[in-house]
C-alpha cells in the first residue's frame, strides 16, 4: 500500500538504507533464536560435528519429547514460571493503578521527591540488592516459598509501573473528573467508572511490562531465595539439563523455547495495547 502523505515519501536509496538498517538490527536480535531453534532440532551426536554445520542433519523434534522424560519436573517448572509472573503481575497492577492515580492527581507533600526516588531505584538492579533482600526475606520467613520470588519481582516493577501509568493518567482530562464530581460521584466511584476504563490501555502496558520483567527476573531470585526444587521456575529448572559430564543442549534449547512461548503468546496478544498505550495521543472527549 502506498502512503500518500508527503512526509512518508522516500527515494529508492533511502528505502534501501532503511531496510538494510532494519535487517542488520534484526539479525543481531534474532540470530540467537534461530541458532537455538536449530540446535533444538539436531540430535545430540551431531551437535559437535566438525566442521560445524549450521543447517541440521537428520533434523527432528525428538528433543521436544525426550526432554519431559529426562527432567520429569519440567512441566512444574514451566507452571511455576507462569504462576510467579501472573501473580506478580496481578499484585503489581493492583498496587500500581491506585498509586499512579494518586501521583497523577493529588498534590501531596513529598510527591516530587518520591517520584525521583522511584527513578533512582530503577538504577539498581535486583542483583545489587540481593544480600539485603535475602536478609529481609529471612526475617519475614519468606525463604523457600513462592513469595520469595514474587515479592522482589513485584517490588522492582512498581516504580517503573507508576511512572508509566502516571504519565498515561495525566493525559486524561481533569474536566472529566470535575464533571463526575459535579454530578455527585464520589472520588472512588469516579475512579472506578471513569478513570479505570479510560486508563485501560495504560494499565495493559503496565501489565505486559510487569509480566515480562518478572518473568525475566525470577531467575536470580529463585536461585538465591529458594532451594526447593518443586518451586523452581523454568530458568533455574533448565539447569537439570546440565549433566555431570555433558549438557543436553538440544533438549535444553527445546525447553527454553517452550519457556519463551507463554511470554511470546502474551506479547502477541497484547502488543497492540502496548503500542497503542505508549503512543496514544490526548484522549479525545
Amino acid at each position: 500500500m502506498k502512503s500518500n502523505a508527503m512526509i512518508d515519501r522516500y527515494r529508492w536509496y533511502e528505502m534501501v538504507g532503511i531496510y538494510a538498517g532494519i535487517a542488520l538490527f534484526l539479525t543481531f536480535v534474532l540470530a540467537p533464536f534461530v541458532e537455538g531453534f536449530l540446535v533444538s532440532l539436531k540430535p545430540l551426536t551431531y551437535l559437535f560435528s566438525s566442521p560445524y554445520k549450521f543447517w541440521p542433519q537428520n533434523a527432528s523434534f525428538d528433543a521436544y519429547f525426550t526432554m519431559w522424560e529426562r527432567v520429569p519436573l519440567l512441566g512444574r517448572y514451566i507452571f511455576n514460571s507462569i504462576l510467579i509472573s501472573t501473580i506478580g503481575t496481578l499484585i503489581g497492577v493492583i498496587l500500581i493503578t491506585p498509586a499512579a492515580y494518586a501521583f497523577a492527581r493529588f498534590d501531596f507533600r513529598g510527591r516530587g521527591p518520591l517520584l525521583g526516588a522511584f527513578l533512582a531505584v530503577n538504577m539498581f538492579s535486583g542483583a545489587v540488592l540481593l544480600i539485603p533482600l535475602y536478609r529481609l526475606m529471612r526475617s519475614f520467613g519468606l525463604l523457600n516459598t513462592y513469595f520469595a520470588m514474587i515479592v522482589p519481582g513485584v517490588a522492582f516493577v512498581i516504580p517503573t509501573g507508576i511512572w508509566l501509568l502516571r504519565t498515561y493518567m495525566l493525559r486524561i482530562p481533569q474536566e472529566l473528573e470535575e464533571a463526575a464530581l459535579a454530578d455527585g460521584a464520589s472520588r472512588f466511584y469516579t475512579f472506578r467508572r471513569v478513570i479505570l476504563p479510560l486508563a485501560m490501555p495504560g494499565i495493559s502496558v503496565v501489565a505486559i511490562y510487569s509480566f515480562l520483567t518478572i518473568y525475566a527476573q525470577q531467575f536470580i531470585y529463585a536461585l538465591t531465595f529458594n532451594s526447593k526444587t518443586e518451586y523452581m521456575p523454568l530458568p533455574v529448572g533448565l539447569y537439570a539439563f546440565f549433566g555431570r559430564q555433558d549438557v543436553i543442549w538440544n533438549e535444553l534449547m527445546a525447553a527454553s523455547f517452550l519457556g519463551v512461548l507463554p511470554v511470546f503468546v502474551v506479547f502477541i496478544y497484547l502488543q497492540r495495547y502496548l503500542v497503542a498505550g505508549m503512543t496514544a495521543g490526548a484522549l479525545k472527549t
Partner: protein, 377 residues
C-alpha cells in the same frame, strides 16, 4: 433576596487575588452571563459557585442556604464544561444517565428521564453512539442533556460554545435561549464572547480583574456603560476614545473641545470640571460620512468591506496605530489614504472623566423599548 446570592466573595491563589469582593444577586429563572477578558476571574467565580473551587472569603447562598462547604451535588447545580467533559468510553445514553446512576435511580425512572432529555435535545437517534462519533454540536447537546436529567435549580455553563465553529455557535445560541424559555431554570453562563452575552442574557455581569465593572441588561450596558472598561468591552468594533478638554458645563450638557472644535455632550454635568482632561466615547456605528455636531476628517488606512457594512480604520493625529474606527452602512464610497469627512451627533456620544467613570447620559432613547434597559428577573 434572590435565588442565588454572592456576598463579598474573594478568591486567592497563593499571593494572587483573583476575585476581589463580588456582590451579586440572581433571581430565579434569570439568564445571567458573566463576561470579561481572559483572566478576569469569570470562570473562577463559576467554579466557586459549582463547588469545584474553594471560596477564600465571603458567602455563596442558594435558596437561603449557605453552600460554601457543600459538595456540588448538594447545591442543586449542574455544570456544562467547555470541553463538554463527556466520558468517551460510554454511550450517549450512559453519559446522560451518569448523574442518575450515581444517585442509584431505578432503571425505569432512569430510562424515562434520559429519553425525555434526549427528546428535548433531539438526541433520540444517537443514544447508542459514543461521543467520538458525534459532531461538536451534538456533543454539546449531550453535555447539556447530562445537566438536564438532574433537574437542577441552577445551570452553570462554562464557555460552552467556544469549541464550535461560527455557524454552529449561532445555532446553539438560539437553542440555548429556547431551552432557557422551556425549562425556566436559572442559568449562569460564562463567556468571553460579547455576542453570546448580548444575545442570550437577561442580565450581563461584566467582570474586570476580579471586580464587577457593571451589571445590567444588555442594552443598558450598550447605551449607558458606567465606565471606560465596559464601554470598550461591549460593542463590536470597539468604541473610539478621543482625548478632549472640558470647556465648561451647563444645563444642556458638558462642552468639550477636540482638535480645535467643540461639541456639547448631553450628559449630567458636574461641578468644577472645566479645564480637566476627559475622554469622549464614540461607537463606530454612530459615525457617519459628512457633517455632524463634531466633524472629524480622517484618511483611512485600512478598509474592510463586509457588504452590509464598511469598516473604516484610520490613525488620528497623535496616535501611532489605528485608533479610529467607523462602521458605515452599505458599501461606502471611501478609499484608503483619501481624506474623508466623518461626523458624529452629540446625542450619540459618551463622556468619561479622568478616572474612567461615565457621565450619566441624558438622552431619550426613543427607539429602545424601555423594558429592555432594565434587567428583568
Amino acid at each position: 433576596m434572590g435565588q442565588l446570592n454572592f456576598s463579598n466573595i474573594h478568591k486567592r491563589f497563593g499571593a494572587a487575588e483573583i476575585i476581589k469582593g463580588i456582590d451579586l444577586e440572581v433571581e430565579k429563572g434569570e439568564f445571567v452571563v458573566f463576561v470579561g477578558p481572559s483572566g478576569c476571574g469569570k470562570s473562577t467565580l463559576l467554579r466557586m459557585l459549582a463547588g469545584l473551587e474553594e471560596v477564600t472569603k465571603g458567602d455563596i447562598v442558594i435558596d437561603g442556604v449557605k453552600v460554601n462547604e457543600l459538595p456540588p451535588v448538594k447545591r442543586g447545580i449542574a455544570m456544562v464544561f467547555q470541553s463538554y467533559a463527556l466520558y468517551p468510553h460510554m454511550t450517549v445514553f450512559e453519559n446522560i444517565a451518569f448523574p442518575l446512576r450515581v444517585e442509584r435511580t431505578k432503571e425505569e425512572e432512569l430510562k424515562e428521564k434520559v429519553h425525555a432529555a434526549a427528546r428535548i435535545l433531539q438526541l433520540d437517534q444517537r443514544l447508542e453512539q459514543k461521543p467520538g462519533q458525534l459532531s461538536g454540536g451534538q456533543r454539546q447537546r449531550v453535555a447539556i442533556g447530562r445537566a438536564i436529567v438532574r433537574e437542577p435549580k441552577i445551570f452553570l455553563f462554562d464557555e460552552p460554545l467556544s469549541n464550535l465553529d461560527a455557524a454552529l455557535r449561532a445555532e446553539m445560541r438560539i437553542e440555548l435561549t429556547k431551552l432557557h424559555k422551556r425549562l425556566k431554570a436559572t442559568m449562569i453562563y460564562v463567556t468571553h464572547d460579547q455576542v453570546e452575552a448580548m444575545t442570550m442574557a437577561d442580565r450581563i455581569v461584566v467582570l474586570n480583574s476580579g471586580e464587577i465593572a457593571q451589571n445590567g441588561a444588555p442594552l443598558e450596558l450598550y447605551h449607558k456603560p458606567e465606565n471606560l472598561f465596559v464601554a470598550g468591552f461591549i460593542g463590536n468594533p470597539k468604541m473610539n476614545f478621543l482625548p478632549v478638554t472640558c470647556k465648561g458645563a451647563g444645563r444642556d450638557g458638558v462642552k468639550v473641545e477636540y482638535d480645535g472644535r467643540t461639541i456639547t455632550v448631553p450628559v449630567a454635568p458636574r461641578q468644577g470640571i472645566e479645564g480637566s482632561k476627559l475622554t469622549l466615547g464614540i461607537r463606530p456605528e454612530h459615525i457617519h460620512l459628512g457633517q455632524g455636531d463634531l466633524d472629524i476628517p480622517v484618511a483611512p488606512t485600512v478598509i474592510e468591506r463586509l457588504g452590509a457594512n464598511t469598516v473604516v480604520y484610520a490613525v488620528l493625529p497623535g496616535g501611532d496605530t489605528e485608533n479610529y474606527c467607523a462602521l458605515i452602512p452599505g458599501s461606502a464610497p471611501v478609499r484608503t489614504d483619501e481624506t474623508m469627512e466623518t461626523g458624529v451627533f452629540a446625542k450619540d456620544c459618551h463622556l468619561f472623566d479622568e478616572d474612567g467613570a461615565a457621565f450619566e447620559r441624558r438622552v431619550e432613547m426613543k427607539e429602545v423599548d424601555p423594558e429592555l434597559l432594565v434587567a428583568t428577573g
